[in-house]
């Protein structure tokens, strides 16, 4: 939404000491978000009016001409390729330093003096879209330059002056006025400026309509629910023509392309008051009787952009007895559009229910300037102001025209007058400081609120333009006072509150600890990936798509299924990183989404229904060029350390996974805490097909939290010294360490530690056998062990190993 500072001068005198920049800042701080400030004349700097005196062919180029252009005090030589050049025309001449867009494309660049195909050119004769004037001069063909006309225009004059383009325009972010129907027109913004700067705002004046009363206009509002007010007026004997310059100029200032005087007047009112109007060709409205009703689902309607549209159920339509003539509040129909031949019009000024317009417009995917205003809940009192003012303008633009009907008015305005009671104390308590009563009163007056002040309470009548949805509670008034008072005039003060008992969320605490531990001490990089699973990996892992929650309005097919596991995305990211790195470890801790199971979060206020399960998982990968054993044992060691840190008892069970080898499930109290293993070597390879060893791990974080304990108890330091021995035995290469370990540990409780340190096969070892060497630590809590004690146990160990594993001492 553009605010034209020239336009608002119709109703107020802007403060002399406030620059346009100041005004924009004041609006930003008290009312709306300003995108930018546009200075019309600055944009046209170094562009002047020139008169083409002579045209000669360019000696070196077929399509170019060399012109002598009179710019008042001198004549300049300009090379130009315009297809519509002719001697004597007035043109827009961009001189060096001007900002132009080449062929209307791309960004503005600064023009320089140059030679074109060997001929000096002192500037450029511009096309409208090369100097940002395509809105004002829309009817040009590609390759045509802008030709100026008008008696007051003289060569040498600055173009801005010649075209009276001296406006300062404030571009307001539409999102920031979604909740303010009153700010969709210049007058509403003028009211804000008046309130902020304490300016006198002239009331919006409309003339009385004098009708010849020769045409009987009728309307039936069938859908009173959705049509709050319907006003119409017939005007006869108009002549459709180009609008006068002042009108075009104002429309262009707010970004609207002038079309013809009738359309321009209705657009003018839409931008002045925010009230959309529509003009029908009166001869196309059967019996001059308008019906406002709902469309049947599937009905067709050709809008004035020529498109045939299939209507959704409930769309509010303007019709006559035979046909639809407009999609209410959104767009007119082709069948009743104003044409150059139109003589008589019916002007509509109506108010529709916002939700209806919004639904229809989004169902049709059709948003117009009109619909985006109606869906904000416009003030039904605006219709009358707008239609009267529009009639006045049309009559002034078409001297032959006259009002032919009475002003029709079907008023079903559902909005009740809103009065709000605000204790003065509430204003001060919410602001955090005292605002003087006089100041509050002044602000309310400036915002044109009627109020009474009694017993330290303000009884406020909300003006109609703020009463459709915007203001309804005392807090709304607090906001009005505070924003005009100025948020920056409020002193920051830290809250005074009472101390509360501390609480620890064990899940969050654990999350932080583990994330830090993995990243800062285990060499893992933390990844944050999308919530959508890479589908090729879902497939490779043979996960079931139907277990995944599906996105209904996915951005792309690859982003259709929510993560059920973190592994697919981790595998994908690992693959991508293989371009740069050979060995690395990555992990992620996030929620995954389980369609088939109910979770812990309730879904509504009844707290009886629950959202799908969305527990967190903690998963990671280790990639290495070395070998599978390396990554497998590294990941196994990581998990051992992690579970030990959390004091969780667990067992490992071999597991079959479609995508893994050496896969194990980690079980605790019969529940699957997670899994780990080696990724099938065919699933993830480098671009150059080189083999990569990938170990994965995947833990149910919610279960970890359930079973963990951060508590520790210290053990007394040993009183008696330990004795260390090593042993190496040769056993079958099939013998698992886990079995050896189990047997050895059973032998004697004095064996405190048992740790393999060297396993090898090959040279010096019989085929089918391997050598296993291990450290042993012996210790008693009662006495110092003697060599004989240890020798005895060592012998026992060997005996058992010989017996159970046919071991030989090395």
């Amino acid at each position: 939404m553009y605010l034209s500072l020239n336009w608002v001068k119709d109703w107020l005198k802007l403060p002399k000491d406030a620059s346009p920049k100041d005004l924009a800042l004041a609006l930003t701080m008290s009312t709306v978000e300003v995108e930018e400030l546009i200075d019309q004349s600055a944009a046209l700097e170094n562009i002047i009016v020139g008169k083409v005196e002579e045209i000669a062919k360019h000696p070196n180029a077929d399509k170019l001409q060399v012109c002598q252009v009179n710019i008042g005090l001198s004549t300049e030589q300009i090379v130009c390729g315009g297809t519509n050049l002719s001697k004597g025309i007035l043109v827009a001449l961009a001189l060096p330093g001007a900002k132009v867009k080449w062929h209307g494309q791309g960004d503005y660049v600064q023009l320089d003096r140059t030679k074109i195909r060997g001929i000096e050119s002192q500037g450029m004769i511009a096309a409208a879209d090369e100097i940002g004037l395509e809105t004002l001069f829309p009817s040009f063909e590609s390759g045509e330059i802008l030709i100026l006309s008008g008696t007051k225009i003289k060569p040498g004059q600055s173009l801005a002056e010649a075209l009276e383009l001296n406006d300062q325009i404030i571009d307001i972010d539409n999102k920031s006025i979604n909740h303010r129907p009153d700010l969709w027109g210049q007058y509403g913004l003028a009211r804000e400026l008046a309130a902020i700067y304490k300016l006198k705002l002239a009331p919006y004046k409309t003339p009385e309509i004098k009708s010849k009363n020769e045409l009987k206009l009728k309307a039936v509002v069938e859908d009173k629910e959705n049509c709050f007010r319907y006003q119409a007026l017939a005007i006869k004997n108009i002549s459709v023509a180009e609008s006068p310059w002042w009108l075009k100029n104002r429309l262009a200032a707010v970004g609207i392309r002038p079309i013809n005087n009738i359309v321009d007047v209705s657009n003018y009112l839409m931008y002045e008051l925010g009230q959309p109007l529509h003009a029908f060709d009166a001869k196309e409205i059967s019996g001059h009787k308008i019906i406002v009703k709902q469309a049947q689902k599937g009905d067709k309607f050709v809008s004035l952009d020529g498109q045939s549209r299939k209507l959704p159920a409930g769309a509010l339509m303007i019709a006559d007895k035979d046909k639809y003539v407009a999609l209410a509040g959104i767009i007119g129909g082709q069948n009743s559009e104003i044409s150059d031949q139109t003589k008589d019009i019916i002007l509509e000024s109506a108010n529709f229910r916002a939700v209806n317009i919004r639904r229809t417009s989004s169902a049709l995917g059709l948003r117009t300037e009109s619909s985006s205003r109606f869906e904000k809940s416009l003030d039904p009192l605006l219709t009358q102001l707008a239609i009267k003012r529009a009639a006045e303008l049309i009559l002034s633009l078409c001297p032959e025209a006259y009002v032919a009907s009475d002003l029709l008015d079907i008023d079903n305005n559902p909005f009740k007058a809103i009065s709000i009671e605000v204790e003065e104390d509430l204003i001060n308590r919410r602001c955090g400081q005292i605002i003087q009563t006089a100041e509050i009163k002044s602000i309310l007056k400036r915002l044109e609120f009627d109020f009474r002040y009694q017993h330290k309470t303000f009884y406020i009548q909300v003006p109609s333009w703020r009463a459709t949805k915007d203001l309804s509670i005392a807090e709304d008034i607090v906001e009005e006072i505070a924003r005009i008072y100025g948020y920056n005039n409020i002193d920051p003060k830290l809250p005074l509150v009472s101390l509360e008992k501390p609480m620890v969320d064990i899940a969050l605490y654990t999350e932080r600890e583990l994330v830090k531990w993995l990243a800062l001490s285990q060499g893992y990089h933390q990844l944050m990936t999308y919530p959508f699973s890479d589908q090729s990996w879902i497939k490779k892992m043979e996960l079931d798509l139907s277990d995944h929650v599906k996105v209904k309005n996915a951005l792309s097919p690859e982003q259709t299924y929510l993560n059920l596991s973190l592994l697919p995305n981790l595998f994908k990211k690992a693959q991508e990183n293989l371009r740069w790195f050979d060995n690395f470890k990555i992990f992620e801790l996030e929620r995954v989404f389980d369609k088939k199971n109910k979770g812990v979060f309730h879904s509504d206020a009844s707290r009886k229904k629950f959202l799908p399960r969305q527990d967190k998982r903690l998963s990671g990968l280790e990639l290495s060029q070395k070998n599978q054993e390396e990554v497998f044992l590294s990941v196994k060691g990581l998990l051992e350390a992690l579970l030990e840190k959390l004091n969780i008892e667990y067992e490992l069970a071999e597991q079959k996974l479609p995508y893994g080898r050496f896969a194990y499930q980690i079980n605790t109290q019969e529940l699957a805490l997670g899994q780990f293993g080696i990724l099938d070597e065919n699933l993830l390879v480098k671009e150059n097909k080189a083999k990569v060893n990938v170990a994965f791990w995947d833990l149910d974080f919610a279960l970890l939290v359930k079973y963990l304990s951060w508590s520790k108890k210290h053990k007394a330091l040993p009183k008696f010294p330990a004795v260390y021995r090593d042993m190496a035995v040769i056993v079958s290469s099939q013998t698992a360490w886990r079995d050896l370990e189990k047997e050895i540990k059973k032998i004697n409780p004095l064996i405190r530690q048992l740790e393999p340190f060297d396993v090898f096969a090959g040279q010096g070892i019989e085929p089918g056998k391997k050598s296993v060497a291990f450290h042993l630590e012996f210790r008693s809590d009662e006495r110092t062990l003697l060599a004989e004690d240890i020798d005895k146990i060592m012998a026992e160990i060997l005996a058992i190993l010989v017996k159970k594993f046919e071991a030989k001492l090395r």
Partner: protein, 336 residues
């Protein structure tokens, strides 16, 4: 005698200047301090002096002896060190070796910093669902169906009528339901918007929501609290400004800007010449939201804010492409 002793000392200093050989040093030591040294001779001569001169002469000789001893001691030490250094077999100027270290995601680092600031002010950290119901993401936040504010948040809708939360505000009413008033908490986490990605837009990003409900919480409290945490996060006093902003679940509603950290308010390309950067929407909690959370707005008021954590990360590390954060590219992640 005093003269002679000084000469001995000077001679030694002269002779010893460039000695770096320990053997030669030992020889010198014998020469100057040994039994046959001049100094030893002087010491002997002291006995032959008159009784009254003896103490002074003895003292003098001993002083010189000690001085010479000190010179030798320090030189011996230096020579030894030099020798030890020469005997080492590695180049200590090589770069240090490091254990393979991992990295926290930059978003995590900044999140922890912000959490720390709020914890210091007595705010608890909470977590909640990302797959959410329409009720908690919108309706309970005074944003019923057909509310235009829903347009500005393109939502991912899921089968079953669920959605991916478009804002961490989904926890406001959940937390009030659970903990009641007074309440002080922050909820960091992942949020989702159905919009195409480019250098400054992402469909998946991080927010940090804050909510404080107590007696007479006011606008001044909100400003002061935000200033306090920003100053900690940016390690300097940060100027903020509040301007109107509309969000259905706050009343009054604000946008909070911070003075541009790049140009310090002078105007630059980062702040689009305005001198200010939009940082977070905030406001006083709307009475309807308090009611939805079971809190009586007649007794309590509160403030809420929605910090764009991802935006903060980008500002703090001057990251110009938001997509890097979810890229998983270790070349990027290893920088933090």
């Amino acid at each position: 005698m005093e003269e002679d002793l000084k000469k001995i000392k000077d001679k030694l200093v002269q002779e010893i200047k460039d000695v770096s050989d320990s053997q030669f040093l030992a020889q010198l030591k014998t020469k100057y301090l040994g039994r046959k040294s001049e100094l030893a001779r002087f010491l002997k001569e002291v006995k032959n002096l008159a009784e009254e001169e003896r103490p002074r002469a003895g003292q003098l000789v001993n002083e010189v002896k000690k001085e010479l001893g000190d010179i030798f001691a320090s030189l011996e030490k230096a020579v030894k060190e030099k020798k030890a250094a020469a005997e080492t077999d590695f180049d200590p100027t090589m770069p240090g070796r490091r254990n393979a270290v991992g990295h926290l995601h930059p978003s995590t680092i900044v999140q922890y910093e912000v959490e720390e600031a709020f914890k210091q002010m007595g705010f608890m950290v909470y977590d909640g669902p990302q797959l959410e119901s329409d009720y908690y993401n919108f309706t309970a936040l005074n944003t019923p169906a057909d509310h235009p504010a829903r347009d500005s948040q393109d939502t991912f809708w899921l089968e079953g009528g669920w959605l991916l939360r478009s804002q961490t505000s989904n926890l406001q009413v959940r937390m009030l339901e659970k903990y009641g008033a007074p309440f002080r908490g922050i909820f960091p986490g992942r949020v989702f918007r159905n919009e195409a990605t480019d250098a400054s837009h992402e469909h998946t990003f991080y927010q940090l929501e804050g909510l404080m409900v107590d007696k007479d919480i006011n606008i001044g409290n909100l400003i002061a609290t935000m200033q306090a945490f920003l100053s900690l996060v940016f390690s300097k006093d940060v100027a903020v400004r509040l301007r109107p902003g509309f969000f259905p679940f706050v009343e009054p509603g604000f946008e909070m800007d911070i003075k541009c950290l790049i140009c310090d308010g002078a105007g630059c390309s980062v702040c689009k010449q305005s001198g200010w950067l939009e940082l977070m929407p905030c406001g006083l909690v709307h009475p309807e939201v308090l009611k939805a959370g079971g809190i009586d707005p007649a007794n309590y008021s509160g403030f809420a804010f929605g910090l764009g954590l991802t935006r903060l990360v980008m500002m703090k590390y001057r990251i110009n492409d938001i997509r890097l954060l979810s890229s998983g590219d270790l070349r990027f992640l290893k920088q933090f």
